[in-house]
């Protein structure tokens, strides 16, 4: 029997799928509907200071006929009063004792204000608190959101104000709009947070209307950067999650967020250490119903891989993450084209010819122009493999020369220092590595 239940920093839920703090978790109506359909938890839309939104607040990028591969917003925190939200959180938790209900908070940077809101939040009976240090627009101009998340000292200080009065787990939600994500994570740890949520949205300008020359979206002719989310941000989020996960100075449970639309995405976040995952844009696009495939797809995959619990694979891929200096320089692959599958689009040819290392020829064959790899020249960069539109037509086949693995760091210990091009060339020659 597959068990999807999780415990993220002391917050338990029957499956790892939580609604991220955003429009889908704006009200009791929505959160209860999501729970009915099977969501494991919800981080309530951030509550706090009085705000007022502009009317149009979203912009999207479509790509090759697919709508919303990225979604940008200038929405603020909840525009409903604190009292209303706290009351609805209380009611929701009462109705759904087995689901994780987490309140997301953002108030003025004053100790007593934080103490007050934290106490009132705990009274709702919710399972945890998430501190929104991420909102990159509007709130940051008022000294909140990413204005906190971008300064580790503030981050530590406010977290401490919260944890010193909180009796329930506290997650700190980080902004990705920072040079090194580990610093605010470490600061949260210093402030005694119980876990880290990441990422919030990324600063972006979605585009310009080429007729009006105004930004998209345009609020009566004006605009500015918004926060970017959706499928396009997933690789950025995965990297940040992994950085926090492997940092020995952080060592806290993680709730992974950013571009999760399918069970596959979720599995990847969990493999990089996340205990729970949060979803916003995919729900905004398709509705709560996606939970059916998220849960079923993940369970089916786990069954196929003979995994019984989330813990059985959580963080399993972190062991692969290392620095460039530790990668095997003698790991060699070359491209191979399956001529039976090739449709002669010759995209591989032009990619290699103009964008890589000129190792593909076009050979006329049976009245067709057939691309052919000159394998001795192939550097194995895999660009052709990436551009090929036919499944399993180009493959990268392993062609090591049989020598033992050697990394850059090891090589530097072997070769005379300071390193010269000459000594590096000799090493390459010895292993038949031709650079052209």
């Amino acid at each position: 029997m597959i068990d999807l239940s999780i415990n993220c920093a002391g917050i338990r839920s029957p499956n790892p799928f939580w609604l991220a703090s955003a429009p889908p978790s704006n009200s009791a109506y929505q959160v209860c509907k999501a729970f009915e359909q099977g969501w494991g938890g919800a981080v309530w839309k951030t509550i706090g200071e009085p705000v007022m939104n502009t009317v149009n607040r979203y912009g999207a990028i479509d790509y090759n006929g697919q709508k919303i591969i990225g979604l940008n917003n200038i929405e603020l925190i909840s525009d409903r009063p604190i009292e209303v939200n706290l009351k609805e959180i209380t009611e929701t938790k009462k109705l759904w004792p087995d689901r994780a209900v987490i309140a997301s908070l953002m108030v003025e940077s004053k100790r007593d204000v934080w103490h007050d809101i934290v106490k009132r939040t705990i009274d709702t009976g919710c399972d945890g608190i998430e501190l929104n240090y991420g909102c990159p627009h509007g709130m940051s101009e008022r000294g909140m959101g990413s204005a906190v998340g971008q300064v580790p000292e503030y981050c530590a200080m406010i977290t401490e104000w919260v944890t010193e009065v909180s009796t329930i787990p506290v997650l700190v939600k980080l902004t990705p709009n920072i040079g090194d994500i580990r610093f605010p994570a470490r600061a949260a740890k210093k402030g005694k947070a119980h876990g880290i949520s990441l990422i919030n949205t990324i600063n972006t300008i979605m585009g310009i209307d080429l007729d009006t020359l105004e930004l998209k979206p345009s609020v009566d002719g004006k605009g500015g950067h918004g926060g970017y989310a959706g499928p396009a941000v997933k690789p950025i989020a995965l990297n940040m999650v992994s950085q926090v996960a492997i940092d020995p100075e952080v060592n806290l449970p993680i709730s992974g967020i950013g571009g999760i639309s399918t069970w596959r995405d979720a599995a990847e976040f969990i493999l990089l250490g996340a205990s729970s995952v949060q979803v916003c844009t995919a729900v905004m696009h398709y509705g709560f119903r996606i939970i059916n495939d998220l849960v079923e797809g993940l369970s089916n995959w786990m069954e196929e891989k003979r995994l019984q619990t989330i813990e059985d694979f959580r963080g399993k891929s972190l062991r692969c993450i290392t620095d460039f200096g530790n990668l095997n320089l003698l790991y060699k692959t070359v491209a191979e084209i399956d001529e039976a599958k090739c449709i002669q689009c010759n995209l591989c040819y032009i990619a290699c010819e103009d964008g890589a290392h000129q190792c593909i020829d076009i050979i006329p064959h049976n009245g067709k122009n057939q691309p052919k790899i000159r394998q001795p020249d192939c550097v194995g960069c895999a660009l052709c493999f990436l551009v090929c539109p036919v499944d399993n037509c180009i493959s990268m086949v392993r062609k090591d020369d049989g020598s033992e693995a050697i990394t850059w760091n090891e090589l530097m210990r072997q070769l005379p220092q300071p390193l010269t091009w000459e000594s590096l060339r000799q090493f390459q020659k010895k292993h038949g590595i031709e650079i052209h």
Partner: protein
């Protein structure tokens, strides 16, 4: 038969009967699945008689959860493989796809459905459903076509002990014995039979209820009976020459073709098919693909009244079938063997009660067409004498009357579905009826107790 068409090589046969809608490979399926908009409350789902949650099953193909996709499909339709390959999708799900509204090609729902269900069978039918514990009641199902199989599968999962009685050697009904081999192989149908059997359903083949065992005996053994007997052969043409050698019934002819021993099916060089329904088209295209040189369809009304679907008509035209509209057979000519067909020209009159225009023969318009084989396909008739054994069974326009919510007939112990109640529709209607009847039976047996 006169003038047998020469037999083809086995390669030619295979070629002529290859599937017209081949399987998607993984890449194609993923691309097509991602093209689906994942509509909410989608029109495609409403247009499918079994109401498969189409957008969900397609979404699952897109994410690579193929097992989940198969589950979504089977939850609504136990005959999903046959349906995927044989449903007239143009007038059902695909015809309702929102892409049509945008003036673009609809999603290939049938082929995606096949992709998921092929996966399911190729992976050894992993268990997806947990049956409820046995409830001690037993249901007899007469006829192992799609209606009977769907009803049996659903009942078995609801905890019933189910036995299907099937007169033929092979179960599957017309899915096994009727559907054109270029749409699917009868072996696909047998896979579905295996799935139904895996739920504990017992299938007794070569048992004709009414002949091998009596209906009364059968009824006595069970708490309820589901009638899924389909329809019988074509009625007689009632014209001279009907009993010459070379005259045959479309279903008998087709049955021989579906079992794929093409070499052993004789076909004349010149073939006339009487009638222009979907079955007539199948018979005509199959005769052509078996090697007949000239195949023609004889139909007494015009192109407009023709009951065959547009895509079936197109298929026939592409196969080079010649259509004689406003033409009715008056006599089959021959001396022991068919030599020709005498026909009269027809003209259309006023619409009849069903709204279809009547046809009348034009005096002295007789003409002769030389043919070697005549295939009768003027609709199927219900098994009236068999059904007359059930007391109080009410009929409506020659079909068994049922309560369309529960599929219960006017005799409370008997339920019915499929061709025998609708006069001959599609596999998917039979599959929907069977499932609905199972719930009707369940309600009846448990509210009664």
């Amino acid at each position: 038969m006169n003038n047998l068409a020469p037999k083809l090589t086995s390669e030619q046969y295979e070629n002529n009967f290859t599937e017209i809608h081949p399987a998607f490979n993984q890449n194609q399926a993923t691309v097509e699945a991602n093209r689906c908009l994942y509509c909410f409350d989608s029109p495609c789902m409403k247009a499918c008689p079994t109401h498969i949650d189409i957008s969900t099953f397609i979404k699952k193909i897109a994410t690579g959860n193929i097992k989940g996709s198969a589950k979504t499909i089977l939850e609504s339709n136990w005959i999903a493989l046959t349906c995927a390959k044989a449903c007239p999708v143009d007038v059902l799900c695909e015809g309702a796809c929102v892409y049509n509204e945008r003036g673009e090609k609809p999603i290939e729902i049938g082929r995606l459905q096949r992709y998921a269900i092929d996966w399911y069978f190729e992976h050894g039918m992993p268990s997806l459903f947990t049956p409820t514990p046995k409830n001690g009641k037993s249901v007899g199902v007469i006829g192992a076509g799609p209606a009977g199989l769907a009803c049996a599968a659903e009942l078995a999962l609801l905890g019933y002990d189910v036995t299907i009685y099937e007169g033929k050697d092979l179960p599957g009904g017309l899915d096994t014995m009727g559907i054109a081999p270029y749409k699917m192989s009868y072996m696909d149908s047998l896979k579905e039979v295996k799935l139904v059997e895996s739920f504990g359903v017992k299938i007794k083949t070569r048992v004709w209820v009414g002949t091998t065992i009596t209906l009364a005996e059968t009824a006595q053994m069970h708490d309820a009976i589901f009638l899924s007997i389909g329809l019988g052969n074509s009625p007689d043409l009632n014209i001279p020459g009907e009993h010459l050698e070379g005259v045959c019934d479309a279903l008998e002819f087709i049955e021989n073709v579906t079992t794929r021993n093409w070499n052993s099916v004789d076909v004349g060089k010149r073939v006339a098919v009487i009638g222009a329904g979907n079955t007539a088209i199948d018979a005509a295209t199959e005769a052509k693909r078996l090697g007949a040189e000239q195949v023609m369809i004889i139909y007494r009304r015009s192109e407009e009244e023709m009951p065959a679907y547009e895509f079936e008509y197109d298929l026939a035209k592409r196969d080079g079938i010649v259509f004689h509209f406003l033409t009715a057979p008056s006599r089959i000519i021959g001396n022991g063997q068919v030599e020709g067909l005498e026909c009269v020209k027809m003209k259309l009159g006023m619409p009849d009660v069903k709204g279809r225009r009547t046809s009348h023969s034009i005096p002295n318009s007789e003409f002769r067409i030389p043919v070697d084989m005549v295939i009768k396909s003027i609709g199927q008739k219900p098994a009236e004498s068999f059904l007359s054994q059930i007391s109080n069974l009410k009929f409506e326009r020659g079909k068994i009357w049922v309560n369309t919510e529960t599929m219960q007939t006017s005799h409370p112990k008997y339920f019915a579905g499929g061709d025998c109640i609708n006069g001959g529709k599609e596999v998917v209607n039979a599959a929907a009826d069977g499932k609905r009847a199972a719930h009707g039976i369940d309600e009846y047996l448990f509210s009664r107790k």
